[in-house]
């Protein structure tokens, strides 16, 4: 654990990519193989199962810190991270422990069938043998998410340097579901992939945005200059659903979301067509709600995403289908090396023979001869219930991760309204102790009605200024939330708008974010609920 805690500290102590890779390599070469795999699991979002509920951990931490519970809460708002708050508030311990990361995780997993009293005793004893930095990472293991300031790419790069394997190969080998307890480091770095893992998905290839921010729109001419001949490109609509990878191997089916969640059971409608596919097939596509052959807005799909049980009513109201984009494995062969055009032919073959063409759909190609023509077609995206256009170079292979060059997304301009900030809350992580999370309102008569929350879109300098304003213009405090004097106006951008019965305003926005701070607008000139509802269409 000392090595793991030190790894965390060292990663925090530098902003330089090369330094971080060096630190990761030092860690990998210093610890036993089982620790390597546990670290890899943690750094790629595979946290051990939570064995103590976090309210209990928190309560016991309050006890150990010997301060009142309210003060613990206030401290948490200042620190912005529960694990760190607990680590900072507990008194220094005189003891130390030489247990490895693997041993600690084993102990955590062994808590499963223990009584609450046993868990408490174990936790108190554990805290008492860890220093502050170790406690911080230990608390991270027990609670909450394990986000570190290191991308998976850096971890892969370090491993690639050590093992001599290609980063793309390693990225693939750590996809999908695996357990650090059973996946051996030696298996991971073997020359030939020896792990028999029929559920393992391929890394997703992600498109790069043509306009880096919504404010810098690109004209068809500019796109043409950047991308060259229109004939070299394939265009499709950019659908707004759940990006997924669907696998049929050895008679079994798997559906993976882009977040590497296994979601097979969430989409029973897709099972028949998947079962009908030949073994050794992997398809990349978008899952959307469909009704009468037409895609429905994302919020319809959203209603069923979080559900544990899919009731018949949900399945009726929000039936899904797949729009297939690509074929990654065909006849048991990894065909990512083939060109876009070649893969498209294979995908079309698969789709044309399916007995379920209503469910297994294919993303239609948009015919266009010039960038200008495509530019005008793009204007119809919203009517198509699409977010814009996807551009894929016909000669491109299927690559790993988000990269510039061969796949581009050309999204339409977001919708926008001018709104007044009325509530604010402190952020987390590097935004700790700063007011960064805001609620916005529009006018309904002479009242301001909240309609959206947004966190992103301002620069650090702007955030400091808004924070300064909030701290001087607080009307009331409700726990962590402050009511702010309505004064500042922001342009809020969003991708879509739908009716909602769950919100006071009666509407729900898709991807709201701050486009800019309207210094020039007094609050009286912010938009109205009426004008917002007019965007609902119908």
């Amino acid at each position: 654990m000392k090595a793991f805690a030190q790894l965390f500290l060292s990663l925090d102590e530098t902003n330089k990519t090369n330094e971080k890779v060096k630190v990761l390599k030092e860690y990998f070469t210093a610890v036993p193989d089982t620790d390597k795999m546990h670290m890899l699991a943690l750094f790629t979002g595979r946290r051990p199962k939570r064995q103590i509920n976090s309210t209990l951990v928190r309560n016991w931490a309050v006890e150990a810190s010997n301060i009142p519970a309210w003060l613990f809460e206030e401290s948490y708002h200042v620190v912005g991270d529960l694990a760190e708050t607990m680590a900072l508030l507990m008194p220094e311990s005189p003891n130390s422990s030489s247990k490895t990361l693997t041993e600690w995780i084993e102990e955590i997993n062994d808590l499963n069938d223990k009584t609450e009293a046993d868990k408490k005793l174990w936790l108190q004893q554990s805290w008492a043998m860890l220093d502050s930095q170790e406690r911080f990472v230990f608390n991270k293991l027990l609670t909450g998410s394990f986000r570190v300031g290191v991308s998976q790419n850096l971890v892969i790069k370090a491993l690639a340097d050590i093992s001599g394997l290609e980063p793309a190969v390693l990225t693939h080998r750590i996809m999908g579901s695996w357990m650090p307890e059973t996946y051996q480091y030696t298996q991971l770095i073997e020359e030939q992939d020896a792990a028999e893992n029929i559920s393992r998905p391929y890394p997703f290839f992600l498109a790069y945005p043509i306009q880096e921010t919504s404010e810098k729109q690109k004209t068809p001419e500019e796109v043409g200059i950047a991308l060259g001949e229109a004939a070299e490109w394939q265009a499709e609509w950019k659908w707004d659903g759940i990006r997924a990878q669907l696998i049929k191997r050895c008679g079994e089916i798997f559906i993976w979301s882009r977040g590497e969640d296994l979601a097979t059971e969430k989409f029973p409608e897709l099972h028949p067509f998947l079962n009908a596919l030949p073994d050794g097939t992997v398809i990349d596509g978008e899952i959307l709600s469909f009704q009468n052959g037409l895609p429905m807005p994302f919020n319809v799909l959203q209603t069923r995403i979080g559900r544990k049980n899919l009731s018949r009513r949900i399945l009726e109201e929000s039936p899904v289908a797949l729009i297939a984009y690509d074929c990654l494995e065909f006849g048991g062969e990894d065909i990512r090396y083939k060109t876009q055009a070649e893969r498209r032919v294979l995908l079309e073959n698969l789709q044309s023979t399916t007995p379920f063409p209503e469910i297994f759909r294919i993303s239609a190609l948009i015919t266009f001869n010039t960038w200008d023509e495509l530019g005008s077609l793009r204007e119809q995206s919203r009517a198509m219930i699409a977010e814009g256009i996807m551009l894929k170079r016909k000669s491109a292979t299927y690559q790993v991760g988000r990269r510039r060059g061969d796949w581009w997304k050309w999204k339409i301009d977001p919708l926008s309204v001018d709104a007044v900030m009325i509530y604010a809350q402190k952020g987390h992580g590097r935004r700790a102790d700063l007011y960064t999370d805001y609620t916005f309102a529009v006018w309904d008569g002479d009242k301001l009605v909240p309609f959206a929350k947004a966190y992103s879109g301002l620069t650090d300098a702007e955030i400091n200024k808004v924070d300064y304003f909030i701290k001087r213009n607080t009307l009331e405090k409700f726990g962590p939330v402050r009511t702010v004097k309505p004064e500042l106006v922001f342009e809020i951008g969003f991708e879509g708008i739908n009716k909602s019965t769950r919100h006071k305003s009666g509407i729900a926005l898709r991807f709201p974010r701050i486009l800019r701070w309207r210094h020039d607008k007094p609050k009286e000139e912010a938009d109205t609920l009426e004008s917002l509802k007019a965007l609902l269409g119908e």
């Binding site: 102590e13 530098t14 900072l88 590097r430 650090d460 400091n464 924070d467 300064y468 213009n473 500042l488």
Partner: protein
């Protein structure tokens, strides 16, 4: 009618009506007693200043030709029958707590203070009083400092590692206080200490005042970059990310501040290394200092005043929050340099004046003022 308190909080500063003087006022007054030379405590424009001897040169350097009387710690000055005396606050060189006594009633104004002996400021001395007016910049239990010897061991090791790796070392801290504290604790066997002009001006003022500081060399147009890169560069927060600093690339940049105790704050500043080193008292330091005064009431001027006063009340103190323009933490946190554009007009008339004055007049010295983070 109830008896008027000896000290009261006005929108100009802490006021003694009986003695007709202010303590650390933020608007021009006739008679000002100054705890220390940081810009949020020593404003320009007063008719007459009273401060400690060791603040003399720095006040003259910062405020120009002012009418200044200086005194020794423990020396008494009478104003209209009210006895004023200064006691060490341990915050920076020359910083003082102001003790005010009239007919047996004693008030003490802490200014800013820390309880750890930093080796260059006269160490903090608790003063018995009835009413204690205290700062609480770090009045949250998550802020607890390690002894400075441990921190400087880390600093010196980091410097050595940088030398070994061939990168320059830039250490950022406030020009008055932190910089000298760092300077006196660096391992000079590692190399020479180079200073940014703002810091060297401060050092020179202190040397004129008879303070013995380790040797430093001012970085000028004529400095040889390769030589400077072999030493350590002391720079103020305002220089972070400027072309001035970038010319020493490649470098590792460290930041010395109490705010570095929190990971988020550290990441926000994007420093390579954050050293938790503060010239303010930590949570335990504040409580022990307040306890040692034996006071009946404590008034909290700046920092996490709401939280800290609630806690003090729970453990049996008569604690109050008061509004002042000191510090800049939490409630009154100011962005480091310019006033937020388009916002001053949103503030009430009174606050507007204050804020404009405050923001435009302070330099880079306020630890608290940077709590929100420089946009680096």
């Amino acid at each position: 009618m109830a008896k008027k308190p000896l000290l009261e909080f006005t929108d100009i500063g802490i006021y003694c009506a009986r003695g007709k003087f202010y303590i650390d006022p933020w608007k021009p007054v006739h008679d000002a007693v100054i705890t220390h030379a940081h810009a949020d405590h020593a404003y320009w424009g007063h008719k007459h200043y009273l401060a400690h001897h060791l603040s003399k040169e720095i006040l003259l350097y910062r405020l120009g030709e002012i009418q200044l009387q200086t005194v020794e710690y423990g020396e008494t000055v009478m104003k209209n029958g009210v006895a004023i005396s200064l006691y060490p606050a341990g915050h920076v060189i020359g910083s003082a707590q102001i003790r005010v006594e009239y007919q047996g009633e004693v008030w003490v104004v802490s200014g800013d203070y820390k309880v750890e002996d930093d080796g260059i400021s006269t160490p903090f001395e608790p003063v018995r009083c009835h009413h204690f007016i205290s700062e609480c910049t770090f009045g949250m239990p998550v802020y607890t400092w390690k002894p400075q010897v441990q921190i400087f061991e880390d600093v010196n090791n980091w410097w050595r590692t940088n030398l070994h790796n061939g990168v320059a070392t830039v250490l950022v801290g406030y020009s008055l206080g932190k910089s000298q504290r760092i300077l006196q604790n660096l391992d000079l066997f590692n190399g020479k200490v180079y200073t940014h002009g703002v810091i060297e001006n401060t050092n020179e003022a202190l040397r004129r005042n008879g303070v013995l500081l380790n040797p430093t060399e001012r970085i000028t147009q004529d400095s040889v970059k390769e030589e400077v890169r072999k030493g350590i560069i002391l720079a103020p927060p305002s220089s972070v990310g400027t072309p001035w600093m970038r010319k020493f690339q490649p470098y590792s940049f460290g930041y010395c501040s109490g705010w570095m105790a929190i990971r988020g704050a550290k990441r926000r500043r994007a420093a390579d290394r954050g050293f938790v080193l503060s010239d303010h008292a930590d949570w335990n330091g504040l409580i022990s200092a307040i306890d040692a005064t034996g006071c009946e009431s404590v008034y909290l001027t700046h920092g996490y005043t709401a939280t800290f006063s609630r806690y003090l009340s729970e453990i049996g103190f008569d604690a109050h929050e008061v509004h002042t323009l000191y510090g800049g933490e939490e409630e009154d946190e100011a962005p480091s340099k310019s006033p937020p554009e388009g916002q001053t007009s949103n503030l009430s008339e009174k606050e507007n004046n204050n804020d404009t004055l405050k923001v435009s007049s302070f330099g880079e010295d306020l630890e608290g003022a940077n709590a929100g983070g420089n946009a680096i």
